[in-house]
């Protein structure tokens, strides 16, 4: 852990909450990145990253400073993001149409929030292949998705993923292998699927 971070933690523990900004500047982007890989969308990734930083702040008095803050916050973020995904999966209403923030003018009729306007380019990009990819990733358990995305997309070593998920290295490895197998089967309609 570098000197600036050690000093920032000392200041935070002495009552200066603004010193926490140093730690946030150093690590928020990487924590957000990990959260984005796990949750798969910007809004949830921001929520998970914020919650992780808040939890870390509240636990800071018990943080052993001989370990790296980055490893610690990443571990908290992974768990927070996985919990969020599980919560979203349980909450079926999350995927339902939202009621508009503004009250409706034509009394008594509930207005449904308008979907984000999409440009023709983004409509084109949202092709069948992209939705198949999303659907395939949705078939993974949060653990499989986390292990797979961090190993394959973020190139993190299995040992690090296992430590962060608090499981044996072989369980993390197995989760990655299972994920790849499931994805391959899900993509059967596309080239490269199961033969």
């Amino acid at each position: 852990m570098d000197k600036a971070e050690t000093e920032a933690i000392r200041k935070v523990l002495a009552g200066d909450r603004d010193a926490y900004r140093v730690l946030m500047d150093h690590h928020f982007c990487s924590v957000y990145r990990v959260a984005f890989r796990i949750t798969g969308n910007e809004a949830d990734a921001e929520e998970a990253a914020q919650e992780a930083f808040l939890r870390a702040y509240n636990k800071l008095p018990g943080f052993r400073q001989d370990s790296a803050f980055s490893t610690w916050i990443t571990r908290i973020a992974m768990n927070t993001a996985i919990n969020l995904v599980e919560r979203r999966n349980r909450d079926l209403s999350y995927h339902a149409p939202r009621i508009a923030d503004e009250p409706s003018l034509d009394g008594g009729v509930v207005t449904v929030a308008a979907a984000k306007a999409q440009s023709p380019e983004s409509v084109l990009l949202d092709s069948e292949a992209a939705s198949l990819r999303r659907a395939a990733l949705d078939t993974l358990t949060p653990m499989e998705r986390t292990a797979f995305t961090l190993r394959h997309m973020e190139d993190l070593p299995i040992a690090e993923i296992a430590a962060a998920l608090n499981v044996p290295a072989n369980s993390a490895k197995q989760a990655v292998f299972r994920a790849v197998g499931k994805l391959r089967r899900s993509l059967a309609p596309l080239a490269g699927g199961v033969q």
Binding site: R17, Y20, R21, E42, Q50, L54, P61, Q174, V180, Q195
Partner: protein
């Protein structure tokens, strides 16, 4: 010619296998495995990393800051000052005594290192084999059993298929261990064979899955496999004492 399983080829594509060279050679001559390997590579390519949008750091900080309470420094206890005062003058003497004790203890513990002791009373484990194929087999078996151990409910078909694939290769390694006189390894692999056979043949009910988990945990098979894996991992060639320690730590 033994074909590689999907799992082995996934490990190969992700560079998580011990004998990449052997698989590479096999793929050159086996069109069936090469097609499967290409299909896995294609899947991985389809799911290659998408760019991650950059978060707005200022906005996130402003939102977070509002939720941060001011952490108060912990009050220092008076009794700590008293202890400091008491311990100040004999501290040097105590430190010297501790150093002497450590030196004596260090010398004794170095001479008392235990060689190759048995696990589960089956005789010494070998430190010799560095066969990457066995290492991969044990690794795959350990992963499968860990998963069986940690999941709930009846076993699914994928798990059963993996057990069947491992059962075939296991028979080869049991014979190999017997012919090389490595009875400890043979014994563990025979135990593994029994569990894999049960995995493959048991009816898919909740009760049979639980019976299997209890059996695995009672005879310590998973632990034995972890010790064997430590011994057989080519990159970590080491003594059984270290292997046992690491096995326990996992």
């Amino acid at each position: 010619m033994r074909h590689f399983t999907e799992e082995e080829l996934i490990a190969f594509q992700l560079h998580e296998t011990f004998d990449e060279q052997a698989i590479y050679k096999h793929l050159e001559g086996c069109s069936e495995c090469a097609a499967l390997s290409d299909s896995i590579a294609e899947t991985l390519r389809i799911f290659s990393a998408d760019p991650v949008p950059a978060p707005d750091l200022d906005r996130n900080w402003q939102r977070l800051r509002g939720n941060l309470s001011v952490l108060a420094p912990e009050p220092r206890h008076r009794w700590m000052h008293v202890w400091k005062h008491i311990l100040s003058w004999p501290a040097a003497g105590l430190a010297t005594a501790a150093l002497v004790v450590l030196l004596v203890f260090g010398i004794h513990s170095r001479t008392a290192t235990k060689p190759n002791y048995a696990i589960n009373g089956r005789g010494p484990l070998t430190t010799r084999p560095v066969d990457p194929a066995i290492a991969n087999h044990i690794d795959a078996a350990e992963r499968l059993l860990t998963e069986v151990n940690n999941t709930q409910g009846p076993l699914d078909n994928v798990t059963r298929d993996q057990a069947r694939a491992l059962l075939v290769t296991n028979a080869v390694y049991v014979r190999q261990a017997h012919s090389s006189g490595d009875l400890a390894e043979a014994s563990v692999l025979e135990d593994l064979g029994r569990v894999l056979t049960t995995l493959d043949n048991e009816p898919p009910t909740h009760e049979s899955a639980w019976r299997l988990r209890i059996e695995m945990n009672t005879n310590g098979l998973l632990f034995d496999l972890r010790v064997l894996r430590q011994n057989d991992t080519p990159t970590q060639h080491q003594g059984p004492t270290q292997a046992l320690t690491q096995g326990l730590a996992q």
